[in-house]
């Protein structure tokens, strides 16, 4: 019946202290621990759960990047995805890769694989863009259920509870659709040892963006990367009048 595409991004591990490169062109990635983006883990977990509940037949894990991303795909396979697709992007193209290029790739793959759902993490913890899911849906002209904290399949429709600023919003969208996973959607499982063994035998297909008719040219150029300014000590005041006076004195108001 249905096939789900799940996007998994290889990012610097959340626990690592990020360091800016001396030339301010980016952050140090060499020799730094990388792992699957936490929101992508949640996306994989949701897809695998849908498969276990028999709503979908096959889960395909997709990642874009150099050879190292196959580790991330294998982790997704060990969590229960059936097969993987590695879209090879390296060098300058990889450094310049952003949500628009990824969205184009996913849109092309969603059509090629005849997917009923594309499930992505809401954002990546390295760039915090929160755009890929939305762009993918727009390119496909599919409905989108973003910031999902609960997903229920109801026939040909999907009920999505979304976390929004005002609280929770429930929407019903028809499939095929794009969903993005928020923090409280589920708790990702640990890859079990037997599943790690099984993952060895699962297939990962290789392709290039050109095979999907996608051009990787970026319209965004990173000029400079800096550390956030060091936080200065604050000043304590006794009354509201003192506060207003101080704010006036330093020109804030």
């Amino acid at each position: 019946m249905s096939r789900v595409l799940v996007g998994v991004k290889r990012v610097i591990d959340y626990a690592v202290k990020i360091r800016v490169k001396p030339d301010h062109s980016g952050v140090v990635t060499d020799g730094v621990k990388h792992s699957m983006n936490p929101f992508c883990e949640i996306a994989v977990e949701e897809a695998v759960k849908l498969k276990e509940k028999k709503f979908i037949k096959e889960v395909v894990a997709v990642s874009c990047g150099p050879t190292q991303v196959t580790e991330t795909i294998r982790t997704a396979l060990a969590m229960g995805c059936d097969r993987g697709i590695h879209v090879e992007v390296s060098g300058k193209d990889y450094e310049a890769m952003g949500p628009l290029q990824i969205a184009k790739i996913f849109a092309a793959l969603a059509k090629k694989e005849e997917a009923s759902l594309v499930i992505l993490g809401k954002q990546a913890i390295d760039d915090d863009c929160n755009q890929t899911g939305q762009m993918t849906a727009a390119l496909l002209d599919w409905p989108q259920g973003t910031f999902a904290s609960e997903v229920t399949i109801d026939g040909e429709k999907v009920k999505v509870v979304r976390e929004i600023d005002g609280g929770l919003e429930t929407i019903k969208i028809s499939m095929p659709a794009v969903l993005t996973a928020d923090l409280r959607l589920n708790t990702p499982r640990y890859a079990t040892l037997p599943n790690i063994m099984k993952a060895k035998k699962k297939k990962i297909a290789n392709m290039k963006p050109a095979d999907l008719g996608v051009d990787m040219v970026s319209r965004v150029e990173v000029l400079r990367v800096d550390e956030p300014p060091t936080r200065l000590a604050g000043v304590k005041v006794e009354t509201v009048d003192d506060l207003v006076a101080k704010l006036k004195a330093n020109g804030t108001i």
């Binding site: 580790e71 294998r74 640990y190 079990t192 040892l193 037997p194 790690i196 063994m197 060895k200």
Partner: protein
């Protein structure tokens, strides 16, 4: 002049069929993934509660079940019997990572895998494997291993627990001491003398469910370390079990025990490595953060030398442990290497535990920091599953055999 054969033996070269030493630098992908999943589990689920488990002497039942679901409670057991179907190197990595999060939990994992499931996997009949291994792969049940007695630990051949046959039953009488997991176990592999005149060749191995009439538990020992595990005496008073509960053939008990301990040593070495690494992590982290004399203490040579010595001790013990595991996986003799691994790793653990407290100074002495728990957890690794002194005897024995003309 050494012959070509014995010099090859003395150089310890792994001949074809076994992974070469050069691959120790980079583990195979599956092993790396497996190590990562165990590390993630240990960091997120065990690290935060290890202090509480230790203070309150709590058996980590929930965590053992979760580890069972991951396949960690039966790493080497074939999938057909409910295990993970991986090799001993994978098992060693799993125990090290788990122990790094919580030394006690690592001990439970090691005892279940090596000491309880190990001998049944090697010497049991298919029926015994299905009955006594499969239910113990999920983490719902754990097993234990009863060899030591109040009257003999290192002197295992002097077992005074007796087993006599009465019709279709064995009747066991005696006391076993220092049994890890005793209060939490659902079965035990236990050793008793069936023929006193044959001395150590008259010892046999038996499988006893727990609880069971005729088997009672002594009081829980109040231990220095690994306090989340239960350690107690097993008291057998006319404990009756079916004849089919004998493991292996009559009189092969001592051999079963010794071979089981050979493998068990790799498990304990891995546990010791995890504790040692945790102690090193604690000290190195503190060295970055604590300032004295106007700079982080990591800038002081005295501290640097300690950290370097700790790192060398852990890494060399780790390579010995991996080598022993790889030899076992290649079905090559590994007795000497396993003993070397256990000796090196346990001494590394006590060394790192000690030095970690020293680096932390006063903070190392209080329970706010985990250094004191690592110090206490490390100590047992030099004692159980063969004391450091016994390991030296085993190593020397193997070594001298190699040099014999």
């Amino acid at each position: 002049m050494l012959s070509l054969d014995s010099s090859r033996k003395t150089l310890g070269l792994c001949v074809s069929g076994c992974r070469s030493l050069s691959s120790l630098a980079e583990l195979p992908e599956m092993h790396q993934m497996m190590r990562q999943t165990c590390r993630d589990y240990a960091d997120r689920e065990l690290g935060p509660i290890a202090g509480k488990l230790d203070k309150e002497h709590l058996f980590p039942a929930q965590q053992v079940r979760e580890l069972g679901a991951m396949g960690v409670m039966a790493v080497e057991v074939p999938e057909a019997l409910g295990g993970a179907g991986m090799d001993y190197l994978a098992y060693s990595l799993a125990v090290e990572e788990i122990s790094r999060g919580c030394g006690s939990t690592g001990c439970v994992v090691s005892v279940n895998n090596s000491l309880y499931i190990g001998p049944i996997l090697k010497f049991g009949t298919q029926k015994q494997k299905e009955q006594w291994i499969t239910p113990f792969t999920t983490g719902e049940k754990v097993g234990c291993f009863a060899l030591s007695e109040p009257g003999n630990g290192s002197d295992a051949g002097a077992a005074s627990t007796l087993a006599r046959q009465e019709g279709e039953e064995w009747v066991l009488n005696g006391t076993k001491a220092w049994i890890t997991n005793s209060w939490d176990a659902s079965a035990t592999v236990i050793f008793a003398t069936t023929d006193k005149s044959l001395k150590h060749k008259g010892i046999s191995a038996f499988l006893v469910p727990m609880p069971h009439p005729g088997l009672s538990l002594g009081k829980k020992e109040d231990k220095l370390g690994i306090r989340a595990t239960s350690t107690a005496n097993l008291i057998l008073e006319d404990c009756r079990i079916p004849l089919g509960n004998m493991l292996g053939s009559r009189g092969s008990g001592f051999k079963i025990a010794m071979q089981t301990l050979d493998s068990g040593r790799i498990g304990i070495a891995s546990q010791a490595l995890g504790i040692a690494q945790a102690a090193l992590d604690c000290a190195a982290d503190y060295a970055h953060k604590r300032t004295a004399f106007g700079a982080p203490i990591g800038k002081l040579q005295a501290v640097q030398f300690k950290l370097a010595d700790m790192a060398v001790a852990v890494e060399s013990a780790r390579l010995l442990t991996w080598k022993a595991a790889m030899l076992k996986d290649a079905k090559k003799p590994f007795t000497k290497e396993a003993a070397m691994a256990k000796l090196a790793a346990s001494e590394a653990a006590t060394f790192c535990g000690h030095q970690s407290i020293q680096v932390l100074g006063g903070m190392g002495y209080v329970t706010d920091m985990p250094a004191e728990r690592h110090y206490r957890d490390a100590r047992i690794t030099e004692i159980y599953e063969g004391t450091s002194e016994i390991q030296r005897l085993v190593i020397a024995g193997q070594l001298l055999k190699e040099y014999a003309s």
